[in-house]
Every structure is written in structure tokens, then in C-alpha cells.
Amino acid sequence: MVKQVIANATGSLFKDRQVPLLLTLLWIASFTLALYILEKSVLAFMGILLSLLLVYYTKTSQTVKVVLGALILLVLIPLVAGDNRYYMEVATQVGIYVAMALGLNIVVGFAGLLDLGYVAFFAAGAYAYAIFATAQANHFIPGDLFPLGGEWFWPFLLVGLIVAALFGILLGLPVLRVKGDYLAIVTLGFGEIIRIIFNNLNKPINITNGPQGLTPVATPVLFGVQMNTPFYYYFIVLFVIAFIVLANIRFERSRLGRAWIAIREDELAAQSMGIPLLNTKLAAFAAGASFAGVVGVIFAAKQTFIDPTSFTLMESIGILVMVILGGSGSIPGVVLGAAFVTILQVQLLKEFSNFLHGLNSSGVISLPNQLDPSKFQRLVFGILLILAALYRPNGLIPAKRNINDIEAIKKSRFAKEKLGILANLNEGKRQSG
């Protein structure tokens, strides 16, 4: 009885799976206050991040949603967590993975090409910046010009983008001739090849410094300000994400994006509709890769140290988990998936493992080193992948299908113009008549 009343009440409150605006505002305000008072509360921080999801589901206009989201991201999080390096660091990491997952979403979600070597492009971007922002480039370019200063970070965002896109095209040219599950294996092989090459390219010419890695990578400088704290990286990443989300939305609605989706749904049908398969797939590879390249540059600058161990298959799989779990092809879904998996990894598992370490050192339990929860990445990824495949193959927030509104098309200003076959038909009539 009580259950039914509650069900009715929540049912009317969350009509069409939407949250009233007032509730959202209340949620944001209360968690902001909570984090402000309880500075180290993980729960409050998660609440603020969750409020972004709530905003997405709020029953209000698009503009209000954007304004609210921007308010949370640009003002509330930096203001409340700004002096706490840890939260900004977590938020930055979430941002980095969101950006990469959005890039992979173009390849896997839109074009339906299962790429298991995505991290190679990330590595390309990271190395493109790191080689020139450390003294490494002196090994093969004479003149003692390097390392470049931090102000070069900004142009290198573009360089990383171009380098990674070129990588994508070069890799795609041979790889994209195979399809389906073969493509998955071949990209996996290529990802490993690139990592092995980066790991061994300290001879005959020392380009990547091999397993020792590259350090110290110059941190960005803007108008003479050293931007080397999580606070600045947070804003840089936010800026990049905004750019990538915009690009994703524009792509999705463009002619190219529709071609990608057509290929995903049925390659043969798409080909018979006149879509050039190889070029369109290459465009998807290049677009996805270029985003990973930009993020790679930021990653190199943020870590100030990179080596091939940051670019293993696990990273590729992790990003894939984010896309699949969130909902491949769905931009809000991918953002949610990336945030969820990253927080699970960097915060929840770590907190749990710290908690167990505390028990361990106080002698309550004895914990072998191998059982540390932070080492259970593979287990977590494995379970998430299986569950997603079995129960939610379309992800947490499935991609929306565009519904063609016939009435709107009839009223559009192009409706009077007869295009394509129709135009020829009329012409034929006129000639015969």
C-alpha cells in the first residue's frame, strides 16, 4: 500500500523520466553546501558530479540546461574544490577520459568500427609534444634548440591533433580493408606494434628514449603564468571537451556523420547508396584519432613524464568499456560512461584499497599485496563488459534515433524544389508535354 503511494508519487514527479527543475536546483545547492562544509567528503564531491547527470534529465529548456551545466563546471566545482588539489586532479582525469571516449565514440559508436588500438593515437599526440618539450629532440635535430618553452604547448595542441590524424590515416589505409571482428584484432595488433616501437626506438636513433621515457615535459605557460596545477589543467581539459562535444554534435548531424551511421548499420546498403566506404571510414579514424592526439598533448604536459607503459592495451580496453557501457553513439551516454569508469577506478577502488590498507596496518586483517582492490581493474572491466553486452548492449543512455518529422519536411523551404530523380522526372514530363 505504502509502496504504491510512493510509486505513484515518484511516477508523477518523474514524468517521462524527467526531473523537475526545483529538485535539481535543490540537489546542486545542498551538495555544494555539503562539500563546502565537509571539505574532504567524497560523497559530496560525487553528488556534485552527479548533479550534471541530473541537469541532463531536468524538465526544462535546452538553454537553461546548458547554463546550469556551465555554472556547475565553470564556477561551482573550481570554487568549492579549487583549493583541494585532489578533487581537481580527479575532475581533470575524468575530463581526459571523457575527451578520449568521445573521440573513440566517433570510431566505434558512429562508424561501428571496433578499434582496440585506440591508445596508439593518444601515444602519438603525447610523444609529439613530449619529444620537443624535453631535451630529447636534440638527439636527432642539430642546433641545441630544445626543450621548447611552455608557451609552445598551445600550438602543439594543433600539432598533436594533426600528427594523430595522420597516424589514423596511415594506420587506417591498410587496416580498414578488413572488417568486423578481424578489424578488432588487427587494430589490437597495431596498437601493440606501436607501443613496442615506442619502447624500442632508442636505437638506432634515439627518438623516444625507449623504456626510460621522457621527462621533464614543459608545462603550459599563458601570458607568463605557469599553468602547472590541477586547477589550470581542469580548465584546459574543459575547454578541449567543449570543443570535442561541439565537434561530435556537428559531426553527428552532418552528411559525413549520417554516412558513418549508414555504414554502421549496413555496409553493403551504404555502399550501394553511393557512400565511398574507405574514405568515409578513414575520415572516422582520422577524426577519432585527432581528438586522442589533442588529449595526448595535455596528458604529457600534465604528467610531465611519459613512457610506453602509459599506452598499453588496458588503456584501449578501458576507453572501450566507457563507450560501450555509456552507450555507443550517444554523446551524453559516453560522457556518463567515461565519468563512471574513471571515478570507479581512480576514486572508489582507491578509497576502498586505502580503507583496507588502514585495516591491514592496524592488524585487523592481513592483506596480501596482490589482493589490493586497486589492482582489480581487469576484473572490473571484464564484468562491466560482459554485463553491458548481455543486458544493456545499447548502454546506460542509448543513442537516440532521429525521427523524421514528415510534416516539418513538407513545410520546409526546400520542399518546393524538386531535387534528384524527381527533378528529372518533371523535366521529362515537360519535354514530352
Binding site: 591498410p174 597495431f190 624500442n200 596482490q370 581487469r378 572491466f381 554485463l387
Partner: protein, 316 residues
Amino acid sequence: MLSILPQVLIDGLTLGFMYAVVALGYTMVYGILEFINFAHGEIFMVGAFVGTEVLLIADSLGLLQEMNPFVAFLLSLLIAMILSGALGVGVERVAYRPLRNAPRLVALISAIGVSFLLQDLVRFTEAVARNEFYLNSPSLFPGFLEVGGFAQVPLKAVVVIVFAIVMMVVLTLFINKTKWGIAMRAVAQDPSTASLMTINVDKVIVLTFLIGSSLGGATGVLFAQNYGTIDPYIGFILGLKAFTAAVLGGIGNIRGAMVGGVLLGLLESLAGAYLGPLTHGAFGSEYKDVFAFSILILVLLLKPEGLFGEAVKEKV
């Protein structure tokens, strides 16, 4: 440079025969379901752990010293085959069967998940049981065979090669001569027609997973004997290489998988030994994995049907 050639060839052959048996598991499943069983490498790894654990437990009970090494080896092989076969069937039931009518990529994603899950589960179990995640296998065949006075063949390599050949011969006989073997070939050719001929397709699929997985598990035991140390991650790269071997021979083709495996093992071993000297040290043996993957990519691009496969036209 030539003085190491016999050694390189023996290494290549042992590796190649292991690839060949694991490749059989990939190729049989692919032949019937057209699906890459990504977790097959992990089944192999579980087999290696089960076999080694059997030997270690026998050793700690003091039984190993009293047993004939061949009996101990056969015992560990048998237990590993039973358990890994059961695991393969279980994985099929839980993670693949519900997705049989789903898009192929969804099933592949599930298989990748199983692969990672198994790696961590084995690591977890070993960490609880032994506080370490790698195992050192007791060596049952430490001796050498003198061949013609110029080469010493380790006894373990001979055991690996002989057992691999026995398994492949038995499998070939099974597939060609028995009723179940004929049923398997019929399902591979056309599942719906086979089911009209009163073949229970589900049972055949279970049988395929059982045979492929137990062969994979047995290879794991051979691997542990040959290399001594095993860890939960050995299956991943070996599985990829075995898949490469299956593609090289023509996926879906049993004979092709065998030839492809041996060929890939030999090529990899030769590359590992001679890449360094031939390029004057610029590219050493660390590039041997690159070499194997490049073969995969080249085969897929130039001759996607493999050495023995038939070119398949896509049906519309």
C-alpha cells in the same frame, strides 16, 4: 650464425606446435559460429595453472618423487583438460549463448570481458592460495636427447612436439571418422540444414567448445613444462599469435590451423634469433612480436582466406 640454427629450429617447432593446437580451438569455434572466441587464450592459461597446481600439490604431498614422470604428466594433463574443457563450456553457456543472435561485435565485446575476468580471477586465486601470482612448474623431463652428435634436443621439447602431434592426429580422426565429427562438419557448413537432418546444433556447439577448450588447456600444461614459469597473462599474447596462425592457415580450416601454427612458430623463432644480426643490431629480438602481428596484417590484406581456406563471397 649458423651454429645456433638447430637450436632455433627446435625452439620454433615447440612454439609452433603449441600455437597449432591453440589455433585449433579458434578455428573450430570460428568454423561453426563465425565468432572469434577471444577468451580462448585464457582457457589455455587456466589449463597451464591447473596442470601446474596438480604437479605442485602432488609434490607437496610427496607423491611426485614416487611417481613415474610420465604418469604424473599424464595425470596433470588429464585433469587440466577436464577442467579447462568444463570452463570453456561454462563460458559458452553464460557469456556467448545468450548473444548468439545479437550482432557479432556484441558477442566479441562479451568475449573480451570474459578474457579479462579470467585473468584477474586466476591472479586472485593464486594470490589467496600462494601469495604470488606466478607459478614455477616442477620440471618433469630435465634431460637431453643427443641427435646425430651435432644437436642436443631437450627432452621437454620432444614431449611437447609428440603430444601436440598426438592431439592433432586424434582430433583429425575424430572429425573425419566419427558420427559426432561428421555432425560438427555439417553444422559448420550450414547450421539450419544440419538441424533439419536431426543434428542437435546446440549440442554440437557445446561439443566444439569442450574439445577446443580441453585441447587449449592441454597445451597450457605443455607450455608450463617447456618454459617453467607461468603467469595469468601468458594466454593473451599467445592467444593472439595462435589466432594469427589460424588466420594464416585459413580460419575455419583444421589442417590450415596446424600448418599455420608451425609456420608462425618457426618464423617467429627465426626472426627472434636473426633480426638483430641481420640489421646490425638496429632491430633486435624485441621486434619479434611486431613481426608476428605484421604477418597477421599482411595475410589479412593480401590473402584473407589464408593458405588453405576458400575465399568466401559475402552474402547479401
